[in-house]
């Protein structure tokens, strides 16, 4: 139930009972008024009866006075007669007013009045006659008859009024009963309506209330569950997580973060992040920028600088890979910063091991052709030595010696090339790319010849770059061996080298392009070429060659791109390596 509905229900709960009670009061008042009117009618009737009786008494008093006078002749006896004369007349007038709404009784009253007036006339006649007349029995009889008629009329009136009263009384009783019943019925009706209505509303409200309670309970459980879930998730993930306020005060750390920083959450809470999360550059050991500051400044997710070293509270150092992101509330306002980082020390070690293993694999592949290269001239030298021992002709001997010298020279050149493969300077040196690539081609010459591959090497430009010769030799060996394998027997390989002008984000340098006449690469292969352990050579490849080459080139500040040549003559892959003329690479830097 929503708030407006609830308010409407409350309003109905007040208004309806009020209306019903007003209606009920109306009914009751109506009944009371009716009952009161009936009571008044009853009273009126009683008054009329009393007045008629009084009138009758007055008339009887007059008659009594008259009779006393008749018997005694004493005028003193006429006192009641005299005193009742005027009141009787007033009584008639009063009764006439009271009976105005009752024509029958009014008619009876008029009759009575007429009879009374006749009797009065008779009474006056009596009073004016002498005593003897007065004693006349006929006269008395006549008066008595008149008076009896008056009495009969008054009795009739009283009787009639008695009937009216009975009728009014019954009506009043009926009204009283009706009043009671209507009170009871309206109370019952109103009570029932109120009971049903209130029950309905209270039920609706209570159901809604219970629902709200259930909803709130469910929500709070959900909130608790989700909080629990997030907490467990944060605590369980393998990455370290630190959350802090925008002012940098730490609010949360998961167990991995506790382990790496050497701080326990309870100790770290409220401490500034830079105390808990001490980071320096891996090689320079200069303090790295506080990630909270950086996120606050930039307002978006940042990946922290590479080669970040985390120094734990208790001493150990970890190479970490990390990122920081703003925490925003529903209105988008930044309320904190969360750091996620990971110990990559082991990963670095693994990468170094992989790089070393690829170096060994390259050496292994080269060893076979080197052995062949060296064995051939050595075999010739041994043979020449054998011939020299048995030869006496000086000219022939000189020829054998010259040949031996030539073969030894070849052996030494090969061994020099081989040595340079592993003799690495500490700092990058100026390299002649032409010499470097020619050296690689010399070592691969046998292999090229064996496969019958036609090599178009256009590398006569004297291009110089800074770098580590052994590593770059490894890169080009890898690229050319890949090209040999892609081109297949009697295939073709083209190597081109050109100066690269400075462009956006990149200084001057050299671009070396190796193209082959092989089948080219598919999109899927292109996407995965630089992933470690990805190989198209089955069991013959380590899947590390291009990955390591990429690492080496990137370390030199260069880039490798692999695409298909899309030239009719060159349907195969085309690898372009950019090497900057000046490099910022340093010897200890990992190449992957």
């Amino acid at each position: 139930m929503k708030l407006p509905e609830f308010n409407r229900a409350l309003r109905q709960l007040v208004v309806l009972p009020l209306v019903l009670l007003v209606l009920m009061t109306g009914v009751v008042v109506w009944q009371i008024v009716a009952a009161a009117r009936a009571q008044r009618a009853l009273d009126h009737s009683d008054q009329i009866t009393a007045q008629v009786q009084r009138l009758q008494n007055l008339i009887i008093d007059q008659e009594t006075g008259l009779r006393g006078f008749q018997l005694t002749g004493d005028p003193g006896m006429l006192a009641p007669w005299t005193s009742a004369l005027d009141p009787t007349q007033a009584q008639f007038e009063a009764l006439r007013t009271m009976l105005a709404d009752d024509p029958a009784q009014l008619g009876a009253l008029n009759d009575l009045n007429k009879q009374y007036v006749q009797w009065l006339r008779f009474a006056h006649g009596v009073l004016n006659k002498d005593a003897a007349v007065l004693a006349d029995p006929q006269l008395n009889q006549h008066g008595k008859q008149m008076m009896d008629r008056i009495r009969a009329t008054a009795r009739g009136m009283l009787q009639q009024q008695q009937d009216v009263r009975r009728h009014e009384y019954q009506r009043a009783r009926r009204l009283q009963r009706r009043e009671l019943y209507s009170l009871l019925i309206s109370a019952l009706v109103v009570g029932t309506i109120l009971a049903v209505f209130i029950r309905h509303h209270v039920k609706t409200i209570s159901i809604s209330y219970l629902r709200q309670i259930a909803e709130i309970t469910r929500r709070s459980e959900e909130v608790r569950d989700s909080q629990e879930w997030f907490k467990t998730t944060l605590e369980s993930i393998g990455d370290a997580v630190i959350a802090c306020e925008t002012n940098g005060a730490v609010t949360f750390m998961n167990p991995v973060a506790e382990k790496l920083t050497g701080w326990l959450l309870n100790d770290a809470k409220g401490h500034p992040l830079e105390d808990v999360f001490r980071i320096v550059h891996e090689s320079t050991r200069e303090a790295a920028e506080n990630p909270v500051e950086k996120v606050r400044r930039l307002g978006h997710v940042i990946g922290l600088a590479n080669h970040t070293l985390l120094i734990a509270r208790n001493g150990p150092e970890f190479v970490i890979d990390d990122s920081a992101a703003p925490i925003r509330n529903a209105s988008g306002e930044m309320i904190g910063v969360v750091l996620v980082f990971r110990d990559v020390t082991e990963e670095r070690r693994m990468q170094a091991a992989l790089v070393a293993s690829e170096k060994l694999a390259v050496a292994g592949r080269l060893a076979a052709s080197i052995a062949h290269e060296i064995h051939n001239p050595l075999d010739s030298v041994a043979n020449l030595h054998f011939l020299l021992e048995q030869e006496n002709d000086p000219a022939q001997r000189a020829e054998y010696l010259r040949l031996a010298q030539q073969e030894l020279g070849r052996t030494m050149q090969i061994s020099r090339t081989m040595l340079s493969l592993y003799r690495e300077p500490r700092a990058p040196i100026q390299l002649n790319l032409q010499e470097l690539i020619e050296g690689v081609l010399l070592l691969l010459d046998r292999r090229l010849q064996h496969q019958g591959i036609r090599m178009e090497a256009n590398i006569s430009k004297a291009l110089m770059v800074e770098g580590f010769p052994a590593e770059l030799r490894q890169v080009f060996t890898n690229l050319i061996v890949n090209a040999i394998e892609a081109a297949g027997p009697r295939g073709r390989i083209r190597i081109r080298m050109e100066h690269a002008e400075a462009a956006e984000l990149q200084g001057t340098g050299a671009v070396i392009e190796v193209a082959d006449s092989g089948p080219g690469i598919t999109e899927d292969v292109a996407r995965r070429l630089f992933q470690p352990f990805f190989t198209t050579k089955g069991a013959n490849g380590t899947g590390l060659g291009l990955w390591v080459s990429m690492g080496i080139v990137q370390k030199h500040g260069g880039a490798i791109r692999v695409a298909n040549c899309n030239e009719p003559e060159w349907p195969g892959a085309c690898v372009r390596v950019f090497l900057p003329a000046r490099t910022l690479a340093w010897a200890g830097q990992p190449s992957a």
Binding site: N376, L378, D379, A382, E407
Partner: protein, 132 residues
């Protein structure tokens, strides 16, 4: 003995021209008649045209390697002994099986000559056995 020449004829095949010439001189000094070929194809031509008593074959050659050459020779004239020369230690087993003898380059001329002599002797005794 099928050869008409008094000297046993050896066919020497190697893509390494200088090495081939020097090996030829050694073998001639040891008393053989030596024919040389710079690749498998021309070697097989000589093998078909000439009467050959033994073959000294380099394994690692462009275009057609020693294995293919040896297989063709075995197919055409199975009795001619073949010595396989190589700078590699790990030659494929099926290639080694084709040759009578394998010699590692750099073992030295004495070893080469001794193994060649034994190979030819063994071949001729087998041939005699077959005639008898």
């Amino acid at each position: 003995m099928s050869s008409v020449s008094p000297l046993p004829t050896i066919l020497c095949i190697d893509d390494e021209a200088l090495g081939l010439q020097i090996r030829k001189a050694v073998l001639e000094r040891a008393g053989y008649r030596v024919l040389t070929a710079i690749d498998g194809r021309s070697g097989l031509g000589l093998f078909r045209d000439e009467l050959i008593d033994g073959v000294v074959l380099d394994y690692y050659m462009p275009e057609m390697d020693g294995g293919v050459v040896a297989q063709t020779m075995r197919h055409e004239q199975p009795r001619v002994p073949i010595m396989l020369l190589s700078a590699y230690i790990n030659l494929p087993a099926e290639v080694v099986a084709l040759a009578d003898v394998t010699v590692l380059k750099g073992e030295g001329p004495t070893e080469l000559l001794e193994k060649l002599r034994l190979m030819l002797e063994s071949a001729s005794s087998k041939a005699l056995g077959a005639v008898r």
